[in-house]
């Protein structure tokens, strides 16, 4: 059976060149980067080089790059770390209703610790409005955290504008760029962010490794304590293999990014067109200002999981809502925030394309999906009631 992977927003396969870059460091150059002997120095050098490379690509300096165990940790370190460091100055945080759970749940935790959080709404296209950010700013606002691109709809947020506002008001600004990095250009100065999270497994790197970019001078306290690694902000023996893989993956993803992403976007547009040609299918998120690989549609009268399972039975991997919230049954908080009805949110489908997808993949999906939709609709009491 043909297998078509259209869930690159959930995770990506590790690129063969990334595997090749990591491989020698498992068994040959395996030293602890903190050891002073030659085995350790080799690892230290590899970590240093990787850090330089990541910094260069993001427009940062090496000491502003802190490696974490992934996006969730980077988000938590940013949000809880700033809260811990600045709680003397204020206890108000601004975020949005469409953030990833790593951000939302960190904020909800802080609410239990005496912080006040404003969850900004979004418009029907899934975008935060800059006027809402401005209106939410209070004298005691210490942090704004708004994602760069949404993980469900791919909708891009006005990070530059928020960056400018944050600077004017001297508020620390974090962006969760986990979905953006590797798909669109990301430069920390251009965006005007103080903190930025990314995660390697979203751009053909390994799982379990990410970065928190921390602009020099940003006040932040660590969440856990131990050896002096990562300037004490994230102690523990460095996962040097992961770091090497992350840097290599980032380098590959950002080399000829325009060409690669244009190809992905062309396929995506074809897929989007085909899906929207099915009756009563509606696009979620902004039609243009979205990640090049993302389509998100609501298919009326059909429930998401049945759709995924049916596609899966024919070899096609897609998702509904966010794959990160395994076991969650609630309809997507992102789509609800955009004003979708429960039924529309529950019948959403996210298809996210990647570098290896082909036109045949798109044709295959467009071929099998309509009969599946028809079958499920015929099973649905809502379809008959309409």
């Amino acid at each position: 059976m043909r297998r078509v992977y259209l869930d690159h927003a959930a995770t990506t396969p590790v690129h063969p060149e990334v595997i090749a870059a990591m491989l020698p460091h498992f068994h040959n150059s395996f030293g602890n980067p903190s050891s002073i002997h030659s085995f350790g120095r080799e690892s230290r050098q590899a970590v240093d080089e990787a850090r330089e490379l990541v910094a260069k690509i993001l427009g940062a300096t090496a000491r502003e790059i802190v490696f974490t165990s992934g996006g969730t940790e980077a988000d938590n370190l940013a949000i809880q770390g700033v809260a811990l460091a600045k709680k003397g100055q204020g206890r108000h945080i601004i975020t949005s209703q469409i953030e990833h759970h790593a951000v939302l749940d960190a904020c909800k935790y802080l609410e239990t610790q005496g912080f006040a959080v404003t969850y900004l709404p979004v418009n029907a296209e899934g975008q935060v409005q800059i006027a809402d950010v401005l209106a939410a700013i209070r004298p005691d606002t210490i942090l704004i955290t708004i994602m760069h691109a949404n993980n469900e709809t791919g909708a891009l947020q006005p990070i530059r504008e928020i960056g400018r506002l944050a600077k004017e008001h001297k508020i620390t600004f974090h962006t969760d760029a986990v979905q953006a990095v590797g798909s669109i250009p990301v430069n920390v100065d251009d965006l005007g962010v103080d903190l930025l999270s990314l995660s390697a497994h979203k751009f053909y790197g390994p799982k379990g490794i990410g970065v928190l970019y921390i602009r020099n001078g940003t006040k932040l306290k660590p969440l856990y304590h131990g050896g002096g690694q990562e300037r004490k902000l994230r102690p523990g023996t460095e996962n040097h293999v992961g770091v090497i893989g992350l840097a290599k993956a980032l380098e590959l993803a950002t080399t000829e990014m325009d060409t690669k992403q244009a190809k992905i976007k062309a396929l995506r547009d074809k897929l989007m067109g085909g899906l929207l040609a099915i009756p009563e299918v509606k696009l979620n998120g902004h039609p243009e200002e979205r990640l090049p690989g993302n389509v998100n549609v609501s298919i009326r009268y059909v429930e998401g999981e049945s759709l995924i399972l049916s596609l899966d039975m024919q070899g096609v991997a897609v998702s509904s809502g966010s794959a990160c919230t395994s076991g969650s049954l609630d309809p997507s908080h992102v789509l609800l925030a955009m004003g979708l009805s429960h039924g529309e949110a529950h019948g959403s489908l996210r298809l996210t394309l990647g570098q290896d997808n082909t036109e045949e993949d798109v044709d295959y999906v467009l071929g099998i999906l309509p009969p599946i939709v028809l079958r499920l609709r015929q099973m649905s009491p809502l379809y008959h009631k309409r």
Partner: protein
């Protein structure tokens, strides 16, 4: 949540008794308040108060579809009283279990069946018209 057993997948792939009934004797519809999914059951009752025919329509997840299919299989041929003692757990165990986070999905099945039986009885007593199916909400 991501591993249904083979029996569940079989009922999801080839659901038994899907469809509607123009001349149903009873219709039950329930909505699941955990997830908002909806199930509707149509029954045809014979002279001995047995379920002679049964159909379902479901807007819901894989587990919801599989339990709908299973409950119709189990109910067919039973008397209404027999059908009323069947509960959601019985349906789940006939499917050889559901993943823990999916247990709540089996709540729809027996409840929709019971709602259909209730609807049938209310009509017989002349309380209600077939056209407004008994609607109920469950956990």
């Amino acid at each position: 949540m991501n591993s249904y057993n083979e029996k569940v997948m079989d009922h999801f792939k080839n659901p038994r008794n899907v469809g509607s009934m123009d001349d149903a004797d009873g219709i039950g519809e329930v909505g699941n308040i955990s997830c908002g999914d909806i199930m509707r059951i149509y029954i045809k009752v014979d002279g001995e108060e047995r379920i002679a025919d049964i159909k379902f329509q479901t807007f819901g997840c894989g587990a919801a579809i599989a339990t709908s299919s299973m409950v119709t299989e189990m109910a067919k041929g039973k008397t209404l009283d027999e059908a009323l003692v069947m509960n959601n757990k019985d349906v789940a165990s006939s499917l050889e279990g559901l993943p823990p986070v999916k247990m709540h999905c089996s709540n729809l099945a027996a409840d929709a069946l019971h709602a259909a039986i209730k609807n049938y009885r209310e009509q017989k007593l002349g309380h209600k018209d077939i056209s407004d199916a008994a609607e109920a909400h469950t956990h």
